[in-house]
Amino acid sequence: MKKSLMLTLLCVVMTAVYLVAAENEQKVEYDEDLYGPESLIIWEKPVKGVIFSHKRHTYEAGLDCSDCHDDLFEMMAGAAEEEDNFTMEAMYDGEYCGACHDGGFAFAADTRCTACHIGVRGVNRLENGSEEEGGSH
């Protein structure tokens, strides 16, 4: 009798612990002031169809705003695109994304091209949510 009571109690306690843990595990809400704009940035210059996700880098990977702003990237949207040296070459020299994407801290900038270069097709898919054939002008 005592044993089964203990067992039931144990079960209840375990469930409670599990529930509390699950509660804690639920992630904090996405706060744009903390993590940057939630929507993807889509660069069209110097080449079309390149994306950057603040969410991926701050909210998920735990980087701070100051890790990139304002040294690597100006805070103002579209500022990097206007620079003449916003190129892969510059990234290989450790500028812009290349500061982390060097093959050590994060995958090297000269690998996995299509992780960021989603292309005209990728942008079409994002914007239309459709699988339509790429390259419609």
Partner: protein, 249 residues
Amino acid sequence: MKIQELMKLKNEGTSGLSSRERRQFIKMGFIVTGVYFGGRILSLTSAVEAASSGTVPQEGEYSYSPHYTMVIREQLCIDCERCVEACHSVNDVPGHGRRTKILEKRRPIEYGGFETVFMPILCNHCNRPPCVRVCPTTATYKDEKTGIVVMNHDRCIGCKTCMTACPYNARYFKEEERYVDKCNFCRDTRLAQGELPACVTACPADVRIFGDLTDKKSRVYKLLHTPDTYVWVLRPETGALPNVYYTTA
């Protein structure tokens, strides 16, 4: 004769046929099937016979001089479509048409999401071009010197048979002019002036390499003969012997 009337007729059977008539019928069958059989094996194109021992032709197997080839370093393509834009402006391609386009392959990857590989496609300038075989007016033909599959627009009647024959979907119907149009490696617009095809020059990622395969110093030759790389063509099973190669180099 109308079907209804035919159905009223009595079946004559085969006993009334002379063996001479039967023989003639069978002979005709042999001739007809023979034509198909021969047609499959002996292509009616004027193209030089160009079977090769492997995917990449070896010395002595080049059918043309210069043997124009495009090598596509597929993994580097980022689908920026500068090639498409350049092609359109240089070759007067209308908005609805494509001489080249970018397809994509996607596969799920281990940490979630997808890896995308973009696949540029264009006319493969096949050594045994199915489009040339089916053209009823010889409006499309293999250039004897370079092997480029060319269109003679004046001869095209717009029947689009070539479009259905092409294994690479590389042709489109130019509504405005009422003819079929396709990539010709910028033969008139750029090659004639000693320039590379527009898509090659426009590519920022060095994906498209164009050159003469018979020239051992050319990049195309080197790319197709680099150890530790993989070279393939699209749809090899059609037997069209394409001249656009894809490589991991």
